[in-house]
Amino acid sequence: MRTRKNRQRLLQLAAITATGALVLSGCGSSSADTANGKVLTIATHDSWAMSKSVMAEFKAETGITVRIAKNGDVGELTNKLVLTKGDPIADGVFGIDNTFATRAIDEGVLARYTPLIAPASLRQFELTGNGQSYLTPIDYGDVCINLDDTWFAKHKIAEPKTLDDLVDPKYKGLMVTPAATTSSPGLAFLLATIGHYGPTGWKAYWEKLLDNGVKIDAGWTDAYEVDFTAGGGHGDRPIVLSYSSSPPFTVPKGGTKPTTSALLGTCFRQIEYAGVLKGAKNPQAMQKFISFMINKQFQAALPDNMYVYPADTSVALPADWSTWAPVSPDPISVSPADITKNRTQWLDEWRDLTTR
């Protein structure tokens, strides 16, 4: 009798723990809200930031609650979408840029959608070919060499002006950039050199850069915050790869003028797009959100929140931006199709060069 009772107890114990685990694993999935169109999930990159009031406005207009799912950098974001194609992790995507756009399109991640009403200036940022029917440009930014003006003034050294200047021995050991293989601005800079020196000439340029002691970090954070003389960590290199929008952030407290500046002749333009994912549960809501993203209110909030320029160029920029963060009049470009076709080869070659 007793042993049978024991066995029963043991089985009960097993049953209780099993149920517990099932309950645990069962209770977090709340797909009901998504189905009835009240929640919109947007996959984006880690740099997403938008003020609460703007997002509240969308909720007020449409009744849709937006859930932001950050998914790493642009590469990671795109590749996650590729891997989950057909059963997407979100309804829409924001943040795929011109370096990854054609991969997303070619892999069939996106649904066709073009907003009916769009500001005219969006045209200049649109993808060519059939790309424009998948992705809508939302913002852009210029990845440029930044200089610590204070440092150059203090050391009485003339500032470099062009990409060519950077290999001048005068600037030996003064530059730091994030790696093309691990950072999207890093990749942008590699593309700038490819666009400027051509598909064969860029390697010679990089050899000279390396000879001139360029430091290559894993990410933008390391380069800007640790190694750059004007960054948070007070590093020792006054030339850094960053954005044309970075200088306004270096206006000292009580000062009126930034201590850094961007070299507008060295810029590669990154354009960020939004799109609807193929197989989304709630494509209409994403379409509404894309329309919302290209309206004036959202566009005007972009600079302060994500440090990018609105694709609707008729929108006014913040005061210090218009003064201290001009965009490049003539950015270096490489076509998205070329990027998708050659990315792996370029990165392999670049990695071979830099790890030699």
Partner: protein, 547 residues
């Protein structure tokens, strides 16, 4: 007749719970990701995977992984063994604090430690003169920083339980202290050193954040290579090849570590209190303080940075934790992220505890037949796997496999606690199982013969012995979960991020204020994990943090 079968069925049912969770949240996702490499475009092409192993870059990556992990392991042992002696064989005021401090690096988020290290060794940092920045030396130093505590805890807890009289007998026979150490103590410690070393090697060879932050692109190990191949190049064949390689090596190491542990006596629960230091301990004590100081230097840098602003010393960075950063860099305030971290850590610790206690209970039984023993060993080993498998592979695996009912969890809020629980689970098992194993099985037999059923036996025999270890393991799992970054960062992050993720976001945004706030957040996080570990130390469970 059928009684034995019903008993076995009961055991199997209990074992099934953690096993199913492990299969669902670890083996299945990792397997799914690896399968994508073997079946590119839907058809089986294993050749592509093996071709990867012939790439010269892969060879370079493998060699780098092996030598940095090997060197870091050796250094961690050399640095850690004397500290294990001082913290576990001597007794002096302030020892508890030192024991806590030494574990803090282990539970620190790698992203925070990575930045702290760079601040320290960057040309402009306090150790800039050593020109370590961007060198493999820096990577090895950081790996050592994270793993010394594993050596100290593992070897220390074993050392504490060693019968001192063996050494005293040798000393009385004429062996000098050095000689006693070389001929008696060291050979006796070898199993624990081997066990610690294999686990440290495992951690080092799968280290991700450190190598990525400090190695830049110049240096890559298998883990960062998997990251690059997966997230940037979408080269799933390459990633699969490296993941499989990783699993093979890790299985080998776990077997080695298991063997090393098996030869060693059960953990002593009644270790004699340590003796007071003598003059001749001066060198080894000095060494220990030096090691602790080395471990604390990067943390001190964090504190310093957190108190600094462009205008001088300030607490503003800490006040800013109530905000979403300058220019709304964050979706939520850092303090609410801290709250999220706490909630998630409680959930993760809860899950890890339930599963870990079941696993510990099962592996602590001593089966009579060889087959059952091997099965138990296998069971034990399988739950150690999450320690050594790429977080990238796991995170991406979650995305592609957990998308169908009943496991439609990709966007579930429980996914992060579950993923963290998978990371904390081995630590819970390694804390609780040795204590349960050390219980004389005759006590359970005596209780059962007096009429106690299995649950009652648990309550009257196992629980009184193990409750300290169970509580300590909760604290440890909690601390680990608080600082967990790798697995968390590859899961979709939404409006309720954890503090490590927020810190990562903050240092990714320009502006000195955000950077200072990130540093302040890091200090808060380190203090929270430190407090959890301080509580754990109060339970005086030797097996916490030991392998």
């Amino acid at each position: 007749m059928g009684g034995r079968w019903i008993d076995r069925l009961g055991t199997a049912a209990v074992a099934a719970v953690p096993l199913l969770v492990l299969i669902a949240f670890f083996l299945y996702p990792v397997g799914g990701m690896v399968a994508r490499g073997f079946w590119p475009g839907g058809s089986f092409h294993p050749g592509g995977v093996w071709d990867v192993l012939e790439r010269s870059r892969v060879h370079r990556v493998l060699w780098f992984t092996v030598w940095t992990a090997g060197l870091a392991t050796a250094l961690a042992v050399v640095l850690g063994v004397p500290v294990a002696f001082v913290l576990h064989r001597l007794s002096f005021p302030g020892q508890g604090l030192l024991r806590t401090l030494i574990v803090v690096p282990f539970v620190m988020p790698t992203v925070v430690a990575g930045v702290a290290f760079r601040e320290l060794i960057a040309a402009s940092g306090p150790l800039g003169g050593l020109h370590l920045d961007g060198t493999p030396t820096a990577i090895v130093a950081a790996l050592v920083f994270f793993n010394v505590s594993v050596v100290v805890r593992t070897v220390g807890s074993f050392w504490e339980g060693l019968d001192r009289r063996t050494e005293e007998a040798a000393a009385a026979l004429g062996a000098s202290p050095l000689r006693v150490f070389g001929t008696i103590t060291l050979p006796a410690l070898l199993p624990s050193i081997a066990s610690a070393a294999s686990v440290v090697f495992l951690f080092c060879s799968t280290s991700f954040g450190i190598v990525l932050t400090l190695g830049g692109l110049r240096y890559a190990n298998v883990e960062t290579e998997i990251y690059q191949l997966t997230t940037q190049e979408l080269d799933l064949q390459g990633a699969a090849a490296l993941s499989v390689l990783q699993i093979v090596v890790i299985t080998g190491l776990l077997v080695l570590s298991h063997r090393a542990r098996r030869g060693s006596p059960a953990l002593s629960r009644q270790a004699r209190p340590g003796r007071r230091p003598r003059w001749r301990d001066t060198a080894v004590i000095a060494w220990s303080f030096l090691v602790v100081a080395m471990l604390m230097t990067p943390l001190a840098t964090l504190v310093e940075e957190s108190l600094r602003s462009p205008d001088g010393w300030t607490l503003a960075n800490y006040r800013a934790l109530q905000t979403t950063g300058s220019d709304d860099a964050l979706l939520v305030t850092a303090s609410s992220a801290l709250r999220n971290s706490f909630v998630i850590a409680v959930q993760a610790a809860g899950i890890a505890l339930v599963l870990g206690v079941i696993v510990s209970y099962l592996v602590s039984r001593r089966p009579r037949t060889g087959a059952a023993r091997r099965l138990t060993g296998l069971f034990d080993g399988v739950f150690m796997l999450p320690l050594g498998v790429s977080a990238v592979t796991l995170g991406f695996g979650f995305l592609i496999t957990l998308d169908r009912p009943p496991l439609d969890l990709r966007t579930s809020e429980l996914l992060i606690p579950i993923a963290q629980a998978m990371v904390a689970l081995p630590l819970v098992v390694r804390t609780v199982a040795p204590v349960l194993t050390s219980i004389d099985p005759r006590q359970r037999e005596a209780a059962a013969s007096l009429g106690a059923g299995p649950l009652r036996v648990l309550a009257v025999v196992d629980l009184p012995h193990a409750w300290r270890a169970v509580l300590a393991s909760i604290g440890f799992a909690f601390a680990v979960s608080l600082g967990e970054f790798g697995a968390t960062s590859f899961l979709a992050r939404d409006d309720s991020p954890t503090l490590p993720v927020v810190i990562y976001d903050l240092i990714g945004h320009p502006g000195a204020a955000n950077f200072g706030m990130a540093m302040a957040g890091s200090v808060v996080l380190a203090a929270a994990t430190g407090a959890a570990m301080l509580m754990v130390d109060r339970f005086r469970v030797a097996s916490v943090g030991a392998f």
